[in-house]
Assembly symmetry: D2
Homo-oligomer: 361 residues x 4
């Protein structure tokens, strides 16, 4: 029941001048379906042309199609006509604004963390569990009258996104995993801008990222778990409950610009990884990587500088698959935290929703 | 049966112009007992004054006491009269030279890896297992006639040294450990000079250090295990055999100058760590840290830049002691790879041997 | 007319929890004359013990002598009895607070920029122009009634301090300089904390530091120029007017933690540099470096990592003295921006003032 | 007299497995005219397939068109049929090999330094002085019998290439320059692989690059000077002799991966820079940047991380054009040392030679 993609779907971006917003704009400006119609920013920037308000930090120049768009405040009225709204808002304002957009019947695909733990909002890594879109009708039915088009979909924390894709590949081939231990070495871009002070990270490792380990442990259960019907007939995320999964994360910040490296433990065979084909690719999402996981054979790969742009940053690198004396298997994962770890995931989620008809276009 | 330290013990340094040799010289120039009498280098440098031959890379200047010492070739004759010889030789030459020095009845304390796996050579982390010096008489008895003063003592790989000290503290309080998983983020100085090319590490992580994981796994068993008598009446390292210990290491190189950060897993309580007093301190080794392990309470410590000089680099930092959902407990270790991880260990080993009378002075 | 230093001079520190304040405290805790009696901070921190309020960022631990000092607000009443007050305040508050302290008859030695351009406040690089203290009586006479003990002395911008010392050495030997061109590569610590975002500087150079070039050009004239009497009989800084000096600065930020490297042009001979003895040393200031300028002969020195701690960071490194095809001579300067470039300068200034009797003790 | 480019020109690459060779291959694999037919390497690699012999260090994967090419030794016989040979050889072997290829009537475009100072070999920055190809017939006439197709063309040192393009733009608009002072902050990739040890550059600046300043000063004169006829009727490079030009360079290595930043002094107006159109663009070289110089208006640009890929690395960034108190004008230049500073220049030189008929195709 795949819907044909229309040639032109009007979209908006919330938090358009921030780091994630800039990534959304860069990706959307080259997108085959989505056309940017509205950009939202803080009241301080609203009313200015995008080019004048933004402190652009990408290696590519500001896309021409947005240079002269006048920034709006982040209110639903300014986004009328947008079929999809992408949110790159900071967590301190995202909750209220995204709720207002949903209530105004807009489809919100958010990179913010505010609704990730909401029991009616799907937390979707597009290369893993887009099937969780199935909870949206229930999310809409909680409103009176029920919403017809408004909903919120979130994507996961960047460090979760990277390491969970190989895990999904392994579960698909070998069934439920029992235990995972993961140690991350995360890039500074994961902290946004200005983010990590240079005095804290040059010639240094910071062995702590506030809240990150808890996020990784909790999000893993929500994403890899299923959606089932509870005794009241309501849909609920089962948090991997039938096959309890223990996850232990240790998160570190290192002096790398882009690309989170993660030393995952527990798994089986590289064939399962290399042949993994997620639904998003099968369905034809244009931003899904042609090949999801590359398994490196060289002993010293993957490395952020050499491998973070695999599949334009939408693919995942795995290497050093080997026996583990304590658990079964261990390997290294490298995922691009600013692409598949952030804006790219929101966009593939939206593509999937379009093809499934969840966003009517 | 502690021997009083004499006021002046003549010592030599092999590989004196290399990175480890420079560290030995810096430490020995300020040492209360040891006096540098001879310096050995490659035939290319032999015959030159130290100051002219060395490409000095330490932040402190070349100590005055060695500037005008004429470098000798690494042959025993040039080190006559030295009670102790420290070896900072590269592995490609250390095996043959150290063996020759031992055969010439010189006591060799080596930072090289060549003899670490020898069943008659102790592998000593001075804050953990100096009791393994007990195997030396057996090592000497293998020669005909038996050696009277010559022997070889090695210290461990820098990444092993750092993380094994907290493990020893835990075993001392709670008995044998069953499983350890450790992920390292190792400094570039651990690779020597020129070592890691800058193009490989700036804005990068290298998730592989050749042979390092095997070394950490194997050395841990030799160091934490005991020395026992086999059925022929010979002493042997038991490799933790009575309480099998599984060790899983994942080693990474990061853009840090000095200080290896390691995310250890499995352990119990911080009191056991903070109160750990190794024999080397109890015996009065002057280079042993007054306080072996500092346990940090701040969530974002230890960090290489802020904590690597704890106890002049001879102490070990532990932080983030917390429950682990998979094993029992996890924590972060930071140890200075160029101090306690290398030259400082050799020196404390020699101090311990002097105080025990193993080196007659 | 040198005054004997008393054994104990009570001092205070303004802005005690900031980066510069932490440096002041580290240096003063080990100082032979000065004893910390009062610490000032923002109203938010006032009332807390120093150890609890500070986010300590130095490699050495917090000195015991200040750990339990209760932070005061930055008002003169809380600093009664202090003979000297060091100011590490941020520029946005330093102006008002320092003026209030002066008016309350306290001697203020400030690292802040606010009063550097004041025509009655000396701008002193202690190894260059402490003779400018001579303007203090005039500064005091501007008040009604004239101040007896209150005054403000500032030290220079860190990039000015480093490169101006070799220039002073050259002027002392060869007379007035006509033209100077200087290109800086400045460390991130010069921007304070949090300062430069890591995303801006890792794998990067920022060829601009706001206001820095103007400061270097202007401050050079004030410092190297003399103090003369104008036609109204008042003292005034002559800004090198009798021998006009053209200064051209190009300032860059690079990924170095501590130590500003500067490529100076114009000069003559290395002997003049190496033999330079500033008045502060001749007078016996205990924090003045025993040897002011080291001239390196190796072609690849000075380097921040190897040379920034020369004379505990109070000395200046010069290297690569060579002919310049356009001006006369060119060379490289390295000075420690957080030592002689900041807090150390304020302290030597205060020492000089004590020895000259400007601060009565 | 422009020759139409043929659709397919067979070319070879010498030193194909090295850093520069990898760049040549990456660029040539996507080139509209040139088709790689032969790859040369050391005897150690010769006989292996390219993919198996190379330690590939580029962010893009090895191009498919070269993966299975069997590496030849660098002898002319193996390159028969190649109209153009690009040389990425190391200087220690380039001299002899390139001479042999020329003698065998092959057209060599070299990135090596060996022939740059040869009085009959043009040293061409393609966006500045491709007219120097005019000396080739004379170079060929020195052989007996004169060569018909063999010759050598070199391009300049990477740091020269970057800063000389704006100077050429200024000379074109305002006539001869009298004096230039330039301070460089050069990327580590300029030193090749393994190149700069990480221990030398992390948290550091190295204020010296052996021979680099002399190269910049000398090459500037050869490139900006003309070709004139001497009294024997022979062509000669005049080294800017009629308008003597003094050049003073200060070269530094900084912790940047790609992109040399240079603080140039002396110049006039930004319009002259922005409107500069080199002959290589006018003639239609496909690899010449559409726009040669971008002049930035923001005060903190250009920066390596944000601007080094301007025009795919073939364009030059200029910023901070401002008055200089000592000379006339100063500005900052950023050029991509691995693109226009190396392989890209050789390729545009070859394109120019093809269009001019110097390489008959």
């Amino acid at each position: 029941m795949q819907h044909p993609p229309p040639s032109s779907i009007p979209v908006g971006v919330l938090g358009a001048t921030g780091t994630v917003g800039q990534r959304f704009i860069t990706l959307l400006a080259a997108h085959p379906w989505f056309v940017i119609k509205a950009l939202g920013a803080s009241p301080r920037s609203a009313g200015k042309k995008y080019r004048e308000a933004v402190n652009w930090k990408q290696a590519q120049p500001v896309p021409n199609v947005v240079k002269d768009i006048v920034l709006a405040e982040c209110t639903p009225g300014a986004f009328e006509g947008c079929k999809v709204v992408f949110s790159g808002l900071d967590a301190d304002v995202a909750g209220e604004i995204e709720a207002a957009f949903r209530a105004a019947n807009l489809a919100v695909f958010s990179n913010a963390k505010n609704f990730r733990r909401d029991p009616h909002v799907p937390l979707i890594v597009p290369l893993v569990n887009p099937s969780h879109l199935s909870i949206i009708p229930q999310q809409q039915s909680l409103f009176t009258p029920p919403l017809k088009q408004g909903f919120i979909v979130t994507n996961a924390n960047c460090s979760t996104t990277g390491y969970i894709i190989p895990l999904a590949a392994l579960e698909k081939s070998f069934g439920p995993i029992e235990a995972v231990m993961v140690t991350t070495m995360q890039a500074i871009s994961g902290a946004g801008y200005p983010g990590v002070p240079s005095l804290d990270i040059l010639d240094n490792v910071i062995p702590y990222i506030g809240g990150e380990e808890e996020k990784m442990e909790w999000e893993t259960l929500k994403i890899l778990g299923g959606v089932s019907t509870d005794d009241k007939g309501l849909l609920a995320f089962d948090m991997h409950a039938r096959h309890p999964l223990r996850v232990s994360a240790s998160c570190n910040r290192v002096a790398v610009i882009d690309g989170h490296t993660e030393c995952g433990l527990r798994a089986q065979v590289r064939e399962a990884l290399a042949s993994y084909t997620p639904d998003a690719l099968a369905l034809g999402c244009p931003s899904a990587p042609r090949h999801t996981i590359v398994v490196h054979e060289e002993p010293d790969r993957p490395q952020p500088r050499l491998d973070r742009y695999y599949q334009d940053g939408a693919g995942v690198n795995v290497g050093r698959v080997r026996q583990c004396p304590v658990l079964d298997i261990k390997f290294v994962v490298l995922a691009n935290n600013v692409s598949i770890g952030a804006a790219t995931s929101s966009i593939i989620n939206a593509e999937f929703a379009v093809l499934k008809g969840v966003v009517p276009c």
